[in-house]
């Protein structure tokens, strides 16, 4: 780690960014190639999204997206320089050019997308405020929680979202509002509340810390929109398109049934859509400044979106998050990538 130089670098680059922004147009890809690695901003440690494992390797859905972009550019998923960032540092790091891509469970909102110099290219995880209840209660939807006691943290939008939700439906509930999240979870664990509410990804990571995780269930329903997605600097359309279509290729690979294990086979037997995705027909890769087999490299090195999801946050992980809204549209989810043609 080199915090002082990194901080200095951020400051200097932040100053430079104001003058060099116009010159930086369409240069990001060249910069990345010259640097011979993608500089990717990730969370300092959020299990399932980006966190170093016991061997110091960054793992998680957000980290995998960094690898996918590196594979598309370099045909090598390891040409990523992971730069852990706090919530406060993340936008400055991107604006100043310290990182090329921000893949750090960041909610896509209008003000961030328009007034803070960022461009969001899509959604990698549809998050939202959810509820955790004890299995024994037999509750399956939020509406059934009418009359229940709900533990939550003060100073968050969660409090207001719950109030809005129940007020809109004319239902009542008993809020139990704590200053700190730890006490809210502890009180829920001791039976003070029937339900505990926060963002769904937070619910899952709190659940594995409970006394008996399997006795608690996170409801599928969410009551607020928190789309988490990768962002790039505004002003470099070519780079934004490259990152965006890498995400779409990641999703389309799952849609077309192309996986890490069968990608080499499908090269021979694929349908026209698969052939376009893997670069055997058309010049789609060249149009975004890459080689034609960019998407093939993504799937071969990282797998498709669904594989990465299950490996990091889904059934293959300790978090065991249900796909829910993160299924493909054809399975009842929200992920819908435009076709490659």
């Amino acid at each position: 780690m080199r915090p002082p130089t990194k901080f200095l670098g951020t400051v200097v680059l932040a100053l430079m960014a104001t003058t060099s922004a116009a010159l930086a147009e369409s240069r990001t890809l060249d910069d990345v190639k010259r640097h011979d690695a993608l500089r990717c901003g990730v969370n300092i440690g959020l299990a399932g999204f980006s966190a170093p494992d016991d061997r110091g390797r960054w793992t998680g859905l957000d980290a995998d997206f960094c690898r996918a972009v590196a594979s598309a550019i370099f045909e090598d998923p390891n040409k990523v320089e992971f730069i852990p960032l706090s919530a406060k540092e993340r936008f400055t790091a991107l604006q100043s050019g310290e990182i090329d891509l921000l893949s750090r469970n960041t909610t896509w909102t209008m003000s961030r997308d328009t007034s803070q110099g960022l461009t969001f290219v899509g959604t990698t995880y549809y998050d939202g405020q959810g509820f955790m209840v004890r299995k024994a209660l037999g509750v399956t939807s939020v509406d059934e929680l009418a009359g229940a006691s709900i533990c939550m943290q003060t100073g968050t939008t969660n409090e207001l979202n719950v109030a809005d939700y129940f007020r809109t439906r004319g239902l009542t509930y008993n809020p139990v509002v704590f200053e700190k999240n730890e006490e809210a979870v502890a009180a829920y664990n001791l039976g003070r509340c029937d339900a505990y509410t926060t963002d769904t990804s937070g619910l899952y990571s709190q659940r594995i810390k409970l006394a008996d995780p399997d006795e608690n269930v996170v409801l599928e329903q969410i009551i607020s929109k928190e789309p988490l997605g990768p962002a790039v600097r505004q002003g470099d359309d070519q780079w934004a398109k490259l990152v965006q279509w890498t995400l779409f290729a990641w999703l389309n690979a799952e849609d077309l049934g192309v996986t890490q294990s069968n990608v080499d086979e499908t090269l021979k037997t694929g349908s026209p859509q698969v052939r376009r995705l893997l670069g055997q027909e058309g010049e789609f890769g060249k149009d975004i400044g890459l080689k034609n087999d960019w998407a093939y490299q993504v799937v071969r090195n990282v797998g498709n979106y669904g594989e990465s999801f299950e490996r990091n946050v889904g059934k293959g992980s300790r978090l065991n998050i249900a796909r829910g809204y993160n299924k493909l549209w054809k399975d009842g989810g929200l992920h819908y990538a435009p076709p490659i043609r």
């Binding site: 229940a148 006691s149 100073g155 409090e159 109030a163 008993n174 509002v177 006490e183 009180a187």
Partner: protein, 397 residues
């Protein structure tokens, strides 16, 4: 002095004026006052300018906006469609509830423990000392959290409440009491009760006059008790008991209906009472020990019984020592009640300086109002206690 002789004569007049201690005192005080005033004006102007530059709304208009959130315990009418101003009243009454109950309970417990510390009974004295030493020396926040989580562990679960007679039920969601339903005619019972209390006061005055005039003791306490209890009871029975109770019943998650004492309120009261009582006990002990031993012996020599010695001779004198520091403890308890948010009790700091501040972002206004409330409460308590102290003080002739 030597230099004053040579140069000082030329401007003797101005030197006199400048070196006059009284004049200098006034000049320095005016300068200090102006400096402090300038500092505060600068802070106020600077704050206003910065808020404007950052495009942060100012003013108290937000108080009229809809709050949009629910509160677990409301002593005044409130729903999520109420205004922020009503949130303020809910928070204030919740704070007052816990402060007043806490002060009463801590005072009673503190006096008992303070007397126990001076007891001749070895066990009682040691237990009281141990209690005071442990409770005074553990941070209050930790005690509150401990009591809260102990309560949650000890109380029966929400689905299996402990049922007591008279429709009372206890679980980890609170203590549920039957809610009284006033039926027509209950007003007459209340009027009878008020008349009874007035009668009791009259009996007290009459008994005192009689004692002072003739020296005869009247069992005034029993007469007064009869005056308070009998009239409302007779009216109540005569009107055919115009009162019924709504028992709490089991809903899907919680007991519903009835009056609920939240576990957060119980834990906060328990924590504040036990903590403050330890300090009050020490104040009571020191107050009683401050009464000269001769007073006690003289009272005993006059033939007063031990409890009469305490009630008529020792405690009235001890009170003069006790009241001023006791006032401090009452103020402390009120201010400490702002730790409530840690265990989810919806007091003023939690709902107003917490949720409302977060929703409106008008930190300056919200914090100013909240500070004003605590200042007001403290000054009011101090005023009442000073009045009480003046009444108890030694009358010097």
């Amino acid at each position: 002095m030597a230099s004053a002789g040579t140069e000082g004569t030329r401007s003797k007049l101005s030197y006199d004026w400048l070196y006059d201690p009284k004049t200098r005192g006034i000049i320095f005080q005016i300068a200090l006052l102006a400096g402090v005033a300038a500092l505060f004006i600068e802070i106020a102007l600077n704050t206003a300018a910065n808020l404007k530059a950052q495009n942060i709304a100012t003013g108290f208009g937000f108080l009229e906006r809809t709050s949009g959130f629910d509160i677990a315990q409301t002593l005044v009418p409130y729903s999520s469609t109420s205004t922020y101003a009503q949130v303020f009243w809910v928070g204030l009454t919740n704070t007052l509830l816990v402060a007043v109950l806490g002060i009463v309970l801590a005072t009673i417990l503190g006096f008992v423990i303070g007397l126990a510390r001076l007891s001749d009974n070895w066990l009682a004295a040691r237990l009281a000392t141990t209690y005071v030493e442990i409770v005074r020396n553990v941070p209050l926040l930790l005690q509150l959290l401990a009591w809260y989580f102990v309560l949650l562990v000890v109380l029966p679960s929400g689905q299996n409440p402990l049922r007591l007679p008279f429709g009372i039920a206890i679980n980890d969601r609170g203590i549920y009491l039957p809610a009284p339903i006033w039926e027509p005619g209950f007003g007459a019972v209340l009027i009878a009760a008020i008349a009874g209390i007035a009668g009791a006061v009259a009996i007290g005055i009459w008994a005192k006059r009689k004692r002072l005039a003739t020296g005869q003791q009247v069992p005034a306490f029993w007469y007064a008790l009869a005056a308070i209890v009998a009239p409302p009871l007779l009216v109540f029975l005569a009107l055919g008991a115009p009162l019924s109770f709504a028992d709490p019943h089991q809903g899907r998650f919680n007991l519903e209906g009835g009056i609920v004492l939240l576990p957060e309120l119980l834990a906060l009261l328990l924590g504040l009472t036990l903590y403050t009582a330890a300090f009050i006990a020490e104040i009571v002990r020191s107050g009683i020990q401050a009464v000269p031993r001769g007073q006690k012996e003289a009272a005993a020599a006059l033939g007063l019984r031990p409890w009469q010695v305490q009630r008529l001779v020792v405690i009235p004198q001890a009170m003069r020592v006790i009241i001023p520091p006791l006032t401090n403890q009452f103020l402390n308890l009120t201010k400490n009640s702002s730790l409530a948010v840690a265990i989810a009790y919806p007091d003023l700091v939690s709902v107003f300086a917490g949720t409302v501040l977060n929703q409106t972002n008008q930190a300056v206004e919200v914090i100013l109002i909240t500070m004003g409330v605590y200042l007001g409460l403290s000054l009011l308590t101090a005023l009442l206690m000073n009045w009480f102290n003046a009444r108890m003080a030694l009358v010097e002739r």
